[in-house]
């Protein structure tokens, strides 16, 4: 029983991390049909901002964390301004390849300027403590992760529901040019969506660092692949779908680790991806998409 709860919490923690990243991807995708492969590098940049912060002597986690979040948002906006704006109206494959290009550039810049080897970022070691709630031993990190992700998603929902820019982002997912007819600047809407996605990526970076304790240039790659899949399973472009997909993937990961006998460990990926492919063959549009119309994306 104890074990089951422990693993359930594990799954929730993994899932919420995927959900956080997937939400960022879905936000950007839903307003400009861009599969942002470079999202992983936003996470990596946020991670390296923490490394640099420590390097110049900022040691308090209370300062380092906001720096990472701000760095994530900033880098995301920069990517949009420099690389994605010119291909805004191009076919989806063009956006995809541009994102891939950005991702390659940033990974190699980090390799060149910092190091191809992992660097320690020991700022959140406090968090790996275990605390006891009643009879259960629970990792502080996981608890915090759950709480923060819930807060972040809640904040995002509030923003999207109540601020004008939030409303505009939701409206723009279907009717981009009509949003412009409201006098709302298209560039502002897109930049805001990128900033939000970067913000979420920054939060994700903090937790990944807290768990791993170190960073390398390909830091963001694995989580983003997973988040991508989460998005597609959930229904690409649907924010609820991104969260659902992320959670599902978290549970799938943990279930495979728990249920698969040790000697077949190498088949973990094979099984995970088979299930994912099966899911998509069953529901190609994802679990939550209501694809009434994708709206006009020309302007």
């Amino acid at each position: 029983m104890d074990y089951a709860i422990q693993q359930g919490l594990n799954a929730l923690a993994f899932g919420s991390e995927y959900a956080l990243i997937a939400l960022g991807l879905a936000l950007v995708y839903s307003i400009m049909n861009l599969m942002n492969f470079a999202h992983g590098e936003i996470i990596a940049c946020a991670g390296y901002s923490m490394y640099l912060a420590i390097l110049i002597g900022i040691g308090s986690p209370w300062l380092v964390a906001p720096i990472a979040i701000a760095a994530g948002a900033l880098v995301a906006v920069l990517f949009e301004r420099i690389a994605f704006r010119p291909v805004r109206h191009a076919p989806t494959t063009t956006g995809l390849l541009t994102a891939l290009g950005v991702s390659i550039v940033v990974q190699n810049l980090l390799t060149l300027l910092i190091s191809p080897r992992p660097r320690a970022v020991p700022v959140f070691s406090e968090l790996s403590r275990t605390i006891f709630i009643g009879p259960y031993a629970i990792s502080l990190l996981q608890l915090l992760e759950l709480a923060v992700v819930a807060l972040a998603i809640g904040g995002l929902v509030l923003f999207l529901k109540h601020s004008t820019l939030g409303l505009a982002i939701r409206a723009a997912t279907r009717e981009f040019s009509t949003v412009r007819l409201m006098g709302i600047r298209a560039n502002r809407v897109i930049a805001t969506a990128f900033a939000l996605s970067g913000l979420l990526a920054g939060i994700a970076a903090i937790f990944i660092i807290a768990r791993r304790g170190s960073i390398d240039p390909t830091f963001g790659f694995q989580p983003v692949i997973k988040a991508f899949i989460a998005c597609v399973i959930g229904g690409f472009g649907s924010l609820g779908g991104a969260v659902l997909g992320g959670m599902l993937l978290g549970f799938l990961d943990v279930a495979i680790i728990v249920l698969l006998p040790q000697e077949y460990g190498g088949l973990r990926d094979a099984i995970a991806y088979s299930i994912i492919a099966g899911l998509l063959v069953w529901r190609p549009e994802g679990l939550l998409t209501r694809r009434i119309e994708l709206g006009d994306k020309e302007i």
Binding site: L167, R174, E175, V179, L181, M182, G183, I184
Partner: protein
Amino acid sequence: MLSVNRLSVHYGPIRALDAASIRIGRGEFVALLGPNGAGKTSLISGIAGLVRAQGRVLFEDREIGALPTEDRVRRGLTMTPEGRHVFANLTVAENLRLGAAIRRDREGVAQDIEKYLGLFPILRERNHQLAGTLSGGEQQMLAIARSMMSRPRLLMLDEPSLGLAPRIVAQMFDYISLLKEAGVTLLVVEQNVMQALKHADRAYVISSGIIRHEGKAEELRSDRRLIDMYLGN
């Protein structure tokens, strides 16, 4: 108020609008008539800046041809697009709020919302319903009300009667006339020639991307030959 000088619109090799010139005075209600594919949408999209266009567009004596759509809207010129381009995944109330996105006067916005909910009572009933679930006519009312929320001085409506039942069409035109009385200058694209000519002051007739005729609405209404030739009634 608006003066369009030799405006042309191309889509790749297709010339949708060929050096069209129109003028609209303050407070006028002008109809833009023409068969399908004539270039009506292209003309007003060009004026609104939604498509790239060559030529000059003067709005309140200032050249706006180089401005992006957003800035034209901020200067008081807006357009309600053809078809039901309401924000389907937002509620009626949220649609109206977005319509007022560029305004900073909270009270004025609240008053305007009240005003249009009063004008279109059905929208008040549906206030917290998703716009995508409204009927076609209700969506059209919402689209017009939403455009009005930015307090435009010139409003261009693209086929406001599209897909509406005849009785609702007449009602729609009554509403549009109310806007005119409120001091808004109107450029209305219509297939519904007779209804449009009944309410408009003046009309332009366009076909194959070229402005063919311009005149007072009453005169046009009695000119059967012209109507047959271009509008095929």
